[in-house]
Structures are given as structure tokens and as C-alpha cells.
């Protein structure tokens, strides 16, 4: 058996992948990867300059005859730790009517998925990593008929078995999206796939929205702390000489807000976008805009570090009337943060 020298490209791929990892996370990620042994890791000086550290680690990988797949796995783990760095789309699959029970076999799924991609594109790297809750993270590096896969612009797919939803990192190579959709659909034994109007950096929030897991507060006889009467946010320490003139209104706003948004933490989204294509409506007669036949087009975008929490606080802060427009409050329920509004 001759020792195989690691391919230059693979070596470079290792170097760039390890270089991405922040020093504070280096040990954790390497341990999760579980490719280099404890003993090997102990021989490395983690306090040296990053470039030298990376060099040492790449040498160790070469010693262990690490393959492209091992590097891809490391890349998946890095992405799992830094999932917020990517923007995720959501796809929904559907089965035909009267389907048999879904006997999902993970190994079958993986081999089927890989086969479909490899049949279509000769040059493609497909790697898998199992995750909790019977999910799988898939990394795809796209190539063409004549070019080797580009390892530095991979697409990621997160699929929870026996669910109709798949989460994909927005790939720059949009041309490969139909093929990806096809592979997913066939391998998971579905018939159709549709892109949802839902996008966010926060993968876990997207999952909470489509799996309807964001509200997990239930009333039971067994709860030791009964649902407390909501404190109205009016200072208890308030001077007794101060009376809230619009106390009833404040209470109404609190009640309505609580009914719509609940007591649970809202899933995290960064924006909501509304594309309007409507004709101009005016109470005043005449006017150039009112005569215009074509609908007006405009885009309204709400951005926030935490959009739904911000919307929840609008009415209590006095900035908006309660109840808020259903266009804003329907976001988690409908699983949408992209809207197209047209005249009916």
C-alpha cells in the first residue's frame, strides 16, 4: 500500500477551512470533527500564531491521510456552528394523494440523493452529516461537465426526515437549484417541491415557524404556576398621586397584544418585505394618480434585529394602534415574510 500524498487542492481546502475557524472555537470544533486523535491534538501548540497553528494542523491531517470528504465534514461542522452567517430559504414538498406510509431510510435517502446529482453533474461533491432529531446536513460543492467542483461556494441543505420541509442556504449558483430540488424530492419520496416565501439567517427560527413549534405554552391542571394575571407594565412603584388617565386603553392594548403574540418568545426574523402592485386609491376626486391605469409598484421592507419582538412592542409603546395590521401579525402563522399585494 503506497502512501497517498494529499492532493494540493485538498490541502489548500483544509488550510482555508481551518483558517476560517476562530481560535476560541478551534478546540471545540476539532473535537466535534473527531478526525484528529486526542494525542495528536496534544502535540499541537494552540497558543502560537494562527498561520503556524493552521500549518501544524494541516500537516496532521496529511499524516492521517485526510480525504476531501473529511475536509467537507469539517466545513459542515464549521457551518453548523456559524449557521447565522448564511441566509436560509425554506422549501415545502408534497406527496401525491393516498401515499403509502413513509418508511424513510436515511441511508437509502443519502445514496439516492447523491446518485441523482452525480448522474446529472459529473463533477459534484456531496457530503452528509447526521444531526439531532433525525435530520441530516448535506453539503454540495457544484462543478460542471468540465470543471471540478468549487469547494468554496457550497450549498447546504438541512432536511428533517419524514417532514415536508427542507432548508437550504441561498446558493450563489442559482442555476443548480432545480436539480437540487429534484434530488431532494425524489430521494425523500415526494412528488413536488415549492419554494416558500420565507427567508432568514436564523435557521432555528425558520424551523420553529414551519414546524409550528414557536408557541409551546399550554394550560394544564398540573402547572404549579398558573397563568399569572399579566402585570400591565405600569409601574407598581408609581407615586399614588399619579393616575393613569388612559389606563383602560393601556389595558386593552396589552390584552390585544397578548392575544395575538402570546406569552412565548417570538421566532427570530430580520425582515418582512411587501411588494405592492396596487392602483392608487384616493378619497379626492380626480388627480393624475387616480386616473393612472397601471398599478403603482413599490416595495416596503421592515428590518430589525428581531422583527417579531419589535412588532409586538409597537402597540404597547404607543407607536401603532392595536390590533396591528394582519399583514404584519400573520407572519409566523402563514410562514411568510415575503408578500406580494395586488388589487383583487
Amino acid at each position: 500500500m503506497c502512501a497517498k500524498q494529499m492532493d494540493e487542492t485538498v490541502s489548500e481546502f483544509f488550510r482555508r477551512t481551518i483558517l476560517k475557524i476562530p481560535l476560541t472555537e478551534m478546540m471545540t470544533i476539532l473535537k466535534t470533527w473527531n478526525f484528529l486523535s486526542e494525542n495528536q491534538l496534544q502535540t499541537v501548540n494552540f497558543r502560537q500564531r494562527k498561520e503556524s497553528l493552521v500549518q501544524d494542523l494541516v500537516l496532521l491531517c496529511e499524516e492521517n491521510r485526510a480525504s476531501l470528504n473529511d475536509a467537507a465534514l469539517l466545513d459542515i461542522i464549521y457551518t453548523q456552528f456559524h449557521r447565522h452567517q448564511k441566509v436560509w430559504d425554506v422549501f415545502q414538498m408534497s406527496k401525491g394523494p393516498g401515499e403509502d406510509t413513509d418508511l424513510f431510510d436515511m441511508e437509502q435517502f443519502k445514496s439516492s440523493f447523491k446518485k441523482i446529482l452525480k448522474r446529472a453533474l459529473k463533477n459534484v461533491t456531496v457530503s452528509f452529516r447526521d444531526a439531532e432529531e433525525n435530520a441530516v446536513w448535506i453539503r454540495i460543492a457544484w462543478g460542471t461537465q468540465y470543471r471540478k467542483p468549487n469547494q468554496y461556494k457550497p450549498a447546504y441543505v438541512v432536511y428533517y426526515s419524514q417532514t415536508p420541509y427542507a432548508f437550504t442556504s441561498s446558493s450563489q449558483l442559482k442555476s443548480n437549484l432545480p436539480l437540487l430540488g429534484q434530488a431532494l424530492t425524489i430521494a425523500s419520496k415526494h412528488h413536488q417541491i415549492v419554494k416558500m416565501d420565507l427567508r432568514s439567517r436564523y435557521l432555528d427560527s425558520l424551523k420553529a415557524i414551519v414546524f409550528k413549534q414557536y408557541n409551546q405554552i399550554f394550560e394544564t391542571h398540573n402547572s404549579t404556576t398558573p397563568l399569572q394575571e399579566r402585570s400591565l407594565g405600569l409601574d407598581i412603584n408609581m407615586d399614588s398621586r399619579i393616575i393613569h388617565e388612559n389606563k383602560t386603553e393601556k389595558e386593552r392594548v396589552q390584552r390585544v397584544t397578548q392575544e395575538i403574540f402570546g406569552d412565548y418568545p417570538q421566532p427570530r426574523l430580520e425582515f418582512a418585505q411587501y411588494k405592492l402592485e396596487t392602483k392608487f386609491k384616493s378619497d379626492l376626486n380626480g388627480g393624475i394618480l387616480a386616473e393612472r391605469e397601471e398599478p403603482l409598484r413599490c416595495l416596503v421592507k421592515f428590518s430589525s434585529p428581531h422583527l417579531l419582538e419589535a412588532l409586538k412592542s409597537l402597540a404597547p409603546a404607543g407607536i401603532a394602534d392595536a390590533p396591528l395590521s394582519p399583514l404584519l401579525t400573520c407572519i409566523p402563522n402563514k410562514g411568510m415574510n415575503y408578500f406580494k399585494i395586488r388589487d383583487k
Partner: protein, 260 residues
């Protein structure tokens, strides 16, 4: 001596005699008074004495009354105490009854399906179990409206809730809940068995247990004996019926050659 004085002045004997008589009169009245004084004093004394007696009698009477009252109060308190303790026991018994009812409501979850009324409808709790082991509970919060709606729930996404709701929620809520109960109990039972296989029979397994979300396909390699040379078998369990905890198909294969 006054007599001597009056007799010495004869010239004025008339004056003297009348005066003398006057003096005698006053003497008599004085001595009479003196004689009377002890009498009045006595009378006074006796009056006071009777007064004292009267007061004493009154005092004794009042004392007696006080004593009687005290005694009666004591008697009445000893009569009142049982009444008060009766009130306390009533309170206690009510509290005990209330706690009993609360405990029964809490214990209802052991029946498998329980619920609590909410402001908008009812929150149903489906508590799953398998072979006497209490497993996870799942919730469905229903809004009592026409049409009946599910407000939110904790049913896992791979359980066909939409299918079951479409079939039964509006027409037969009992059937809806029982069907959901069936699916959830079966899922819980399969999951429990898969978890037990993974943990309790680790020594027998030659590799990881392959499973899926519904735990309706299990694939693993195992040895008949944990140690020693025994041949590994590949087992594949299929549960086509999602309402059962037993597999519908089992395939056991053996790969390799047997040396005799």
C-alpha cells in the same frame, strides 16, 4: 355662776329674773340638746349603720351577680368553643375537598386524555404510555368556534395531524382525539423501544442503530451473544402501520461464511 351674778344685782332683779329665766331656759335647751345629741348621734349612727348594712347587702348582691355572670360566661364559653371548632372543621373539610378535586383533575392525565378549559376553548393533553411506562405528553389547544380550530399544539411535525384534522375535527371530535391518541401512543411506544434497544442492548449491537423520525424503520446489526464469537445478524424492522408498536415486517439477514 350666772345665778350668783344675777342675784348680786338685785336692783335689776326683774331684768335679772327674766334674764335668769331666760338663762335657765337656754340651760335646759342646751342640756336637752346635749341629751338629744347622743340620741341624734345615735340616730345618725343607726342611720349610718343601716346605710352600711344596706350598702353591704348591695355589695354582696352585686358580688353575687358578678360571680354568677362570670360563671355563666364561663359556662357559655365552654358551650361556644365547640361551635367555633365546628366552623373551623367545616373550613378545613372544604379545603380538603377542593384539594381532592384538584388532585383528581391532575390525576386525570393518567387516563391518557385529559383537558382544561381555557378562555377560548379547551386545551387537550394526550399522555402517552407504553407497557406501564409513562411517556411524553402532547397538547392540542382548541378554539371553540364554528369551525373548530386548532390554536396551537405540540404534536411533532411528522405525525399526520393535518390529515386527521381534515377527516374528523369538524365532524367527530371524539374520533379525532382517539385517532390522534392512537398515533401518538404508537409513536411514543416505538420511540421508547428504539431508545431502550440503543441503551440497554448496547453490548449486543455491532454498530449504531439506524432510525427515522417516526421510528417506523429500524436497521441494526447485532450479535446473539454480547461477547464471544457469534455471527452478526442484520435486522431490519418495518412498521407500516403507524398505529401499532409492533413491526409489520422483519428481515434478518446474515452475511458471510460459516466455518464448521
Amino acid at each position: 355662776m350666772e345665778l350668783a351674778n344675777t342675784l348680786s344685782q338685785d336692783g335689776e332683779s326683774r331684768g335679772g329674773v327674766l334674764a335668769h329665766l331666760e338663762r335657765l331656759e337656754t340651760q335646759v335647751s342646751r342640756s336637752r340638746k346635749k341629751m338629744e345629741e347622743p340620741q341624734s348621734a345615735q340616730a345618725e349612727e343607726s342611720a349610718l349603720g343601716t346605710r352600711i348594712h344596706e350598702l353591704r347587702r348591695l355589695r354582696d348582691k352585686l358580688r353575687a351577680e358578678v360571680k354568677q355572670h362570670q360563671a355563666s360566661v364561663k359556662a357559655s364559653t365552654t358551650n361556644v368553643e365547640p361551635d367555633q371548632t365546628l366552623e373551623i372543621t367545616e373550613q378545613e373539610s372544604l379545603k380538603r375537598k377542593w384539594e381532592n378535586v384538584k388532585a383528581i383533575l391532575q390525576a386525570y392525565r393518567f387516563t391518557g386524555i385529559s383537558g382544561k378549559l381555557t378562555s377560548r376553548g379547551v386545551c387537550v393533553c394526550i399522555s402517552t404510555a407504553f407497557e406501564g411506562n409513562l411517556l411524553d405528553s402532547y397538547f392540542v389547544d382548541l378554539v371553540m368556534r364554528k369551525p373548530l380550530q386548532i390554536h396551537h399544539h405540540s404534536i411533532p411535525v411528522f405525525i399526520p395531524l393535518e390529515e386527521i384534522s381534515a377527516k374528523y375535527l369538524q365532524t367527530n371530535i371524539q374520533h379525532f382525539l382517539f385517532t390522534l391518541c392512537e398515533y401518538l401512543n404508537a409513536y411514543s411506544g416505538r420511540k421508547y423501544q428504539a431508545d431502550r434497544l440503543q441503551s440497554d442492548f448496547e453490548a449486543f449491537l455491532a454498530g449504531p442503530l439506524q432510525r427515522n423520525s417516526l421510528c417506523n424503520l429500524l436497521s441494526f446489526t447485532y450479535k446473539a451473544e454480547p461477547e464471544g464469537q457469534s455471527f452478526p445478524f442484520c435486522a431490519r424492522l418495518l412498521y407500516k402501520d403507524l398505529t401499532t408498536t409492533l413491526p409489520t415486517d422483519v428481515t434478518v439477514t446474515y452475511q458471510g461464511s460459516i466455518f464448521f
